[in-house]
C-alpha cells in the first residue's frame, strides 16, 4: 500500500480567529475510502478544500501522490471534487459538463465522446446527455457531478457532503452506489459528512474531527465499540453518558458508584484509583430490560429506575428511564414482534435493566463539565 495523501501539521485560521483546521496530520492509503466526520464547524469541509486547493493553509504541508502540492493551484492537482450543490455549469449540456475538463485539455473529440459515454454509463445517465442541468432532478445532477469528477481519472475523489441535498431513500441508495463505484474504480475516496450513519455505512476508515483537530481515527467498528472519548461516543451512534465515582479499581476492572448502584467495567488502558471521577458510556441497544421479578443474569450490572416515556422508532422502541441522574437513561428495545404483542411496563412504573461490564466504557471525567 502506498500513501496517496499525507497531511503534515496542517493549520488554517480564518478571519475572526476561527481555527478551522488546527495542526492536523493524517495519512491516507491509495484505494481507501476515508470519511471526515464531525458536526458543522469542525473543519471537515475546510480540510477538503485545502486538499482540493481552494484554500491555502497557514502552515503545514499537503503531499498528494508523493508530490508536495501545498502551493499548487487547484487546476494542477491530481484530485477532483464532487461539490455539495453539484456546481454544474448551467449553460452546458450534461455531456458538455462531463467532458469539460477533457475538452479544455485538448483531447480529440472522438476520444472525449467515448469517455463521456463511458462515464455517463457508469452513473446510469446516458439517456440524459443532451439535457441541461436545469432540466434534471437532484439525484440526476448528483450523478452528473460524479461523472464529471471521475472522468479525468483522478488519484483522489473528494466528496463534499454529496448526498446531503437528497431525500432519505435516494440518499441510502446513493450510499450503496458510491460504495460500489469506489470498488469498481479502485481510486481513493475522501468523503466529508456530518451524518454518522453515512460514515459508518460507506467508509473503510472514519476520521472524527472536533474543533479542527482529529478526535479519533479508525474503522467504523473501532469507533463504535471503542470510542476514544465521550465526544466520539456521543457523536457516533447514541450513548448514555453517566458521571460516576470510582469505588474500586484492580486488575483491569473498575467499579464505579452511580447513585445507589455499583457498576463494573473493563478499565482498558485507563489508569484510575478509588475516588476518581469518571464518565461511563453505555450504548442504549446493549442494555437488557429485565422482566418483572426475573433474576439479574450472572456477572451483569443492574440499574433500577422508572419509565419516563416511550419513543417508537419502528424497528426499535426507545425507553427513557429516570435513574436519578440529570438526563434520562436511554434503552433501545428490539421489537421482534408487532408492537401490540409486546408487553411494556406502564410509564411511571419501576423497572430494572442489566448491562454486561464489557458494554460499559470508562472515560476520565471531563474537567470542564
Amino acid at each position: 500500500m502506498t500513501k496517496i495523501i499525507e497531511l503534515r501539521n496542517l493549520s488554517k485560521t480564518f478571519a475572526g480567529d476561527v481555527r478551522a483546521v488546527d495542526g492536523v496530520s493524517l495519512d491516507i492509503e491509495a484505494g481507501e475510502f476515508v470519511t471526515l466526520l464531525g458536526p458543522s464547524g469542525c473543519g471537515k469541509t475546510t480540510m477538503l478544500r485545502l486538499i482540493a486547493g481552494f484554500e491555502t493553509p497557514d502552515s503545514g504541508e499537503i503531499i498528494l501522490n508523493g508530490r508536495d502540492v501545498t502551493d499548487d493551484p487547484p487546476y494542477r492537482r491530481p484530485v477532483n471534487t464532487v461539490f455539495q450543490d453539484y456546481a454544474l455549469f448551467p449553460h452546458m449540456t450534461v455531456a458538455q459538463n462531463v467532458g469539460y475538463g477533457l475538452r479544455l485539455a485538448g483531447m480529440p473529440r472522438t476520444e472525449i465522446r467515448k469517455r463521456v459515454g463511458d462515464a455517463l454509463r457508469m452513473v446510469d445517465l446516458l439517456a440524459k446527455e443532451d439535457s441541461l442541468p436545469g432540466q434534471l432532478s437532484g439525484g440526476q445532477r448528483q450523478r452528473v457531478a460524479l461523472a464529471r469528477a471521475i472522468i479525468r481519472q483522478p488519484k483522489v475523489l473528494l466528496l463534499d457532503e454529496p448526498l446531503s441535498a437528497l431525500d432519505v431513500k435516494l440518499r441510502e441508495a446513493m450510499q450503496v452506489e458510491l460504495k460500489h463505484l469506489h470498488q469498481k474504480l479502485g481510486i481513493t475516496f475522501l468523503l466529508v459528512t456530518h451524518d454518522q450513519k453515512e460514515a459508518l455505512v460507506m467508509s473503510d476508515r472514519v476520521v472524527v474531527l472536533e474543533r479542527g483537530r482529529i478526535a479519533q481515527c479508525g474503522t467504523p467498528g473501532d469507533l463504535y465499540d471503542r470510542p476514544a472519548s465521550p465526544y466520539v461516543a456521543d457523536f457516533i451512534g447514541t450513548s448514555n453518558l453517566i458521571s460516576a465515582t470510582v469505588s474500586a479499581a484492580s486488575g483491569g476492572q473498575v467499579e464505579a458508584q452511580v447513585g445507589p448502584h455499583r457498576l463494573r467495567a473493563a478499565a482498558g488502558s485507563l489508569r484510575v484509583v478509588a475516588g476518581d471521577k469518571v464518565l461511563l458510556s453505555i450504548r442504549p441497544e446493549r442494555v437488557l430490560m429485565l422482566a418483572n421479578g426475573a433474576p439479574v443474569p450472572a456477572e451483569c450490572n443492574f440499574l433500577s429506575g422508572t419509565v419516563r416515556e416511550y419513543l417508537f422508532h419502528g424497528n426499535t422502541m426507545r425507553v427513557e428511564l429516570d435513574i436519578g441522574q440529570p438526563s434520562a437513561f436511554l434503552v433501545d428495545l428490539q421489537l421482534q414482534a408487532a408492537l401490540s404483542g409486546t408487553d411494556l411496563a406502564k410509564p411511571g412504573s419501576a423497572v430494572r435493566v442489566a448491562i454486561e461490564p464489557v458494554n460499559v466504557t470508562v472515560f476520565p471525567a471531563d474537567p470542564t463539565a
Partner: protein
C-alpha cells in the same frame, strides 16, 4: 360580491392610474407624432395628409441619412467603449475585492456620478478637453505639445468620450449584478476540472455574464442614440447627431412633419435593438435553467 369578482375589481383599481398615465403621456403623443409624420409642410403651417414624402426625404437626402449613420456609429462606439471599461471594473469589484464593505463603497463610487446633473458632467469635459483646458495645459506644461491643440474638442472623439463617461454606470450596474449572481463554486469546479483562470473566464464566467453585457450595451446604445446634449456641448459640426436634427426640425427649421418622421425612424431602430437584446437574453436565461 364573489371573491373572484372583488379581486378583479381591486386589480383594476390598482392598474387604472398607471394605465391611464401611460395612455395619456405615451401612446397618445406617439400616435400624434406618427400622424404628423405623414403631414405636408406648407409654410408656415402643416397640412394633414397621408404621404411618404418625409420618409422618402430621409432616405434620399444625404443631409439626413449621413447623420443617422453617424449616430449609429457613435452609439456603437460608445456601447463598445463603455463595455470595455465597465466589464473589467465590474469583474474587479465582484471577484477581486473580498471585503463586502469596500466593495459596496466602490460600487457606490461608480453610481454617485448619476446623482450629479447630466448637463454638468457633459460640461466638465469641455473644461478638460478645451484649448485652454486641463489636458492641454498639462501637455504644454510637460512639453509634449509646444502650443495648445484644438483637436481634442468639438469632434466625434470628444462626443464618444463624454457619452462613454456619462453612461458607464448604466453598463457597470447590470454586469456587476450578473457577475455577482454566478455561484463561486462554478469557478472552483472549472479549476477542479484542471482548467486554468483564463479559460475558466472564457468558458464559464463570460458566457454566464452575457445577460448583463447585453443589458448594459443596450442601455449605452439606446441612451446615446437619443442624446443631443453631448453633441451640442462637445461635438463640432461634423459630430451632429440625429436627436439634434430632430430638435431643430421642431424648432428653428420649423418642419414638424419631417421631425416626426425622423423620430419614428429613431424609435423603430431603438425598439428593434431592445427587442433583439431581449430575445438574446431570453435564450440565455433559458440556458441557465
Amino acid at each position: 360580491m364573489r371573491l373572484a369578482t372583488r379581486r378583479r375589481l381591486a386589480n383594476l383599481g390598482v392598474l387604472a392610474p398607471p394605465l391611464f398615465w401611460t395612455m395619456l403621456f405615451m401612446f397618445v403623443p406617439y400616435a400624434i407624432m406618427f400622424a404628423y409624420s405623414f403631414y405636408r409642410k406648407q409654410f408656415p403651417i402643416f397640412i394633414p395628409d397621408i404621404q411618404f414624402g418625409n420618409y422618402l426625404l430621409l432616405l434620399t437626402d444625404p443631409q439626413y441619412y449621413t447623420v443617422l449613420l453617424r449616430t449609429l456609429k457613435i452609439a456603437l462606439l460608445v456601447a463598445l467603449a463603455s463595455l470595455l471599461l465597465a466589464y473589467p471594473l465590474a469583474y474587479f469589484l465582484v471577484f477581486k475585492i473580498h471585503s463586502p464593505r469596500l466593495r459596496a463603497g466602490l460600487y457606490m463610487a461608480v453610481i454617485v456620478p448619476l446623482w450629479v446633473s447630466y448637463l454638468l458632467r457633459a460640461y466638465t469635459w469641455k473644461t478638460i478637453l478645451g484649448s485652454q483646458g486641463v489636458l492641454n495645459s498639462f501637455l504644454v506644461w510637460t512639453g509634449t505639445l509646444s502650443e495648445p491643440t484644438d483637436l481634442l474638442l468639438y469632434n466625434q472623439f470628444s462626443v464618444v468620450l463624454t457619452l462613454t463617461y456619462i453612461f458607464i454606470p448604466f453598463v457597470v450596474m447590470p454586469i456587476y449584478t450578473s457577475l455577482e449572481k454566478i455561484p463561486r463554486n462554478l469557478v472552483e469546479a472549472s479549476h477542479d476540472c484542471g482548467v486554468g483562470p483564463l479559460h475558466t473566464f472564457l468558458q464559464v464566467t463570460l458566457p454566464l455574464s452575457v445577460p448583463g453585457i447585453l443589458a448594459g450595451v443596450t442601455f449605452a446604445f439606446c441612451l446615446t442614440f437619443g442624446d443631443f446634449v453631448a453633441p451640442t456641448l462637445v461635438g463640432g459640426p461634423n459630430a451632429t447627431m440625429i436627436a439634434s436634427v430632430i430638435q431643430s426640425q421642431f424648432g428653428t427649421a420649423l418642419n414638424w412633419p419631417l421631425g416626426a418622421a425622423l423620430s419614428i425612424v429613431v424609435l423603430i431602430i431603438v425598439l428593434a435593438i431592445i427587442s433583439l437584446s431581449d430575445r438574446f437574453e431570453r435564450t440565455g436565461r433559458l440556458n441557465l435553467g
